[in-house]
């Protein structure tokens, strides 16, 4: 079942000279884990925001084409309506703190109160996301007193608690250390396994390769390619788009070893190990 359909999407920010998204077309099936990659200013954040309705409803600007999310055409529905289906976590954790709550626990409750979830369920949901993102120990702290990484976990928890069918994450682990990032990715993967559709913009190519089913490669607002991590990272012209493949892929490329019976290089540690040890061949 197609969960997200984007057709010929064009978008220009007000006062901007050029299109931030230029004729973007793709679709995503229910339960897929999708990565969005591209160099700085490629349009990743803009595309994420187009899926939750911030583009065009929040910014205005020139908009063409169609985005259909879980049967709702974004152009014709309010952000509040869409927020029941799609949740979005932003790049900067600091500006996602509402500023109207004095504890992490209350902060997570904010969205749930707004959409009218009954009290007992609010409490159940908060307890479960605190556990999922491993921030129980700071639940009574002031949100502004958290470290960047903890704030980022809280921001993700706040959105997950709203139980959207589709989760859009814009560089959600920029402030986390490697172990913290890995933990958060595991948590997101567990949601993905429960059938939630995940769309994630990210610069950490190793993570994209490890977790995503398919990867959307953006450049100057255009879709260059949309395929499996193996296919995307095996492209010869990747550097031309300002990207470097995962380190495992680069090593294997340098050694000239491809996955058995394909034209692709390994993209994860496991794949590389298998190929280099020769037991996958």
């Amino acid at each position: 079942m197609k969960k997200i359909i984007v057709e010929g999407l064009k978008y220009k920010y007000p006062l901007a000279d050029s299109l931030a998204l230029n004729d973007v077309t793709f679709d995503i099936k229910q339960g897929e884990f999708i990565g969005i990659i591209g160099k700085n200013l490629a349009g990743k954040s803009t595309l994420c925001q187009a899926l939750v309705g911030l583009v065009p409803h929040f910014y205005k600007g020139a908009y063409g084409g169609k985005v259909i999310v879980d049967g709702l055409e974004v152009k014709n529905h309010s952000i509040a309506d869409l927020s029941l289906k799609v949740g979005m976590v932003f790049q900067n954790p600091f500006t996602q703190v509402t500023g109207s709550k004095t504890t992490v626990y209350e902060e997570i409750a904010f969205g749930l109160e707004n959409i009218g979830i009954p009290r007992t369920e609010i409490i159940e949901r908060i307890d479960s996301v605190l556990d999922l993102l491993n921030i129980e120990q700071v639940k009574d702290h002031n949100p502004f007193d958290l470290s960047g990484g903890q704030m980022q976990r809280m921001a993700i928890a706040s959105i997950i608690a709203m139980k959207p069918d589709i989760l859009v994450l814009d560089e959600p682990t920029s402030q986390l250390d490697p172990a913290g990032s890995e933990e958060v990715f595991q948590a997101i993967q567990s949601l993905s396994k429960q059938g939630i559709t995940v769309i994630l913009a990210e610069h950490k190519m190793e993570k994209i390769a490890q977790y995503c089913d398919r990867v959307l490669l953006l450049n100057n607002g255009k879709v260059v390619d949309f395929d499996t991590p193996g296919k995307i990272f095996s492209r010869e012209d990747l550097e031309g788009y300002g990207l470097t493949a995962p380190v495992y892929t680069r090593v294997c490329k340098a050694l000239g070893v491809k996955k058995a019976g394909t034209d692709e290089y390994p993209v994860t540690l496991e794949e590389a190990e298998r190929v280099l040890r020769g037991d996958g061949a």
């Binding site: 509040a80 500023g99 707004n114 959409i115 002031n142």
Partner: protein, 255 residues
């Protein structure tokens, strides 16, 4: 986290009173002395408010406020006492300065009014958590958007001040003088304005987007994490104040 709210968490019977009742006390304490303009009534209300502030154990926090207010009131007393146009009866003279009875009585009325108003507000401000008051008002039907603005100001202003001191520290580390004479301080302050103002504008935009995706503008009836606090005597106190106000009005009209 520093707070700019004057509220102090304490256990007292005043803290346990419904925020809405404390809010009603303000117009009540201001109106009655206007309806019944006598010094006795004014003193009665100031006395009552002071007793409540004492009972709430927050009287010490009122001292700086009163200090500031007295400074202004002294000028009122002096100016009215000496220069009020209706001044006739000389009370006393200090050198070339003459104090008149009419002006002083008028100044006393103003002074009592002002102290009375300040006391009534302080009972609310010093003994009520801002978010409790706002939540109570939102439950009564105030727009959650207005409520959000009020509550967030108490958190976001200290945040801005923290940003400001981080930037000052960074500039001091680069050798900029930030302390000393007033002119030096002003010079150090100006380059702060750019990053702080611009930064908070960008933050505000991003925060607005984050609020949007968390259903801030949702039409669904809002729910609350905490159960509505039940307060004892709210109705009794509110009806009591209403009855007393009506009694004061009829006293004024019929007697």
């Amino acid at each position: 986290m520093k707070s700019i709210s004057l509220y102090e968490e304490k256990a007292s019977f005043v803290h346990d009173v419904d925020p809405i009742t404390k809010l009603w006390y303000i117009p009540f304490a201001i109106l009655i002395p206007i309806i019944l303009p006598s010094f006795t009534i004014s003193f009665l209300f100031i006395g009552l408010s002071l007793v409540l502030l004492l009972g709430a154990k927050v009287i010490r926090k009122t001292i700086p406020v009163f200090g500031f207010v007295f400074l202004i009131l002294i000028t009122v007393v002096l100016i009215q006492g000496m220069f009020k146009p209706e001044n006739e009866t000389v009370l006393f003279q200090i050198g070339p300065l003459t104090m008149y009875k009419e002006g002083l009585l008028f100044a006393l009325t103003i002074t009592l009014r002002v102290i009375n108003i300040i006391c009534a507000f302080m009972i609310l401000v010093l003994t009520t958590k801002p978010s409790d008051l706002v939540e109570a008002l939102v439950r009564k039907g105030m727009s959650p958007r207005i409520g959000y603005v009020i509550v967030s100001v108490f958190q976001i202003i200290p945040e801005m001040m923290a940003t400001m001191s981080t930037i000052t520290d960074a500039q001091r580390a680069r050798g900029m003088e930030t302390e000393g004479k007033l002119l030096v301080r002003i010079k150090a302050f100006i380059p702060l304005l750019g990053p702080v103002v611009l930064g908070s504008l960008i933050n505000t935009k991003e925060r607005a987007m984050a609020l949007e995706v968390r259903g801030f503008n949702s039409q669904a009836p809002k729910t609350y994490l905490y159960e509505e606090k039940t307060y004892q005597f709210s109705k009794v106190l509110q009806i009591g104040m209403l009855l007393l106000t009506m009694a004061a009005v009829s006293w004024r009209i019929f007697l």
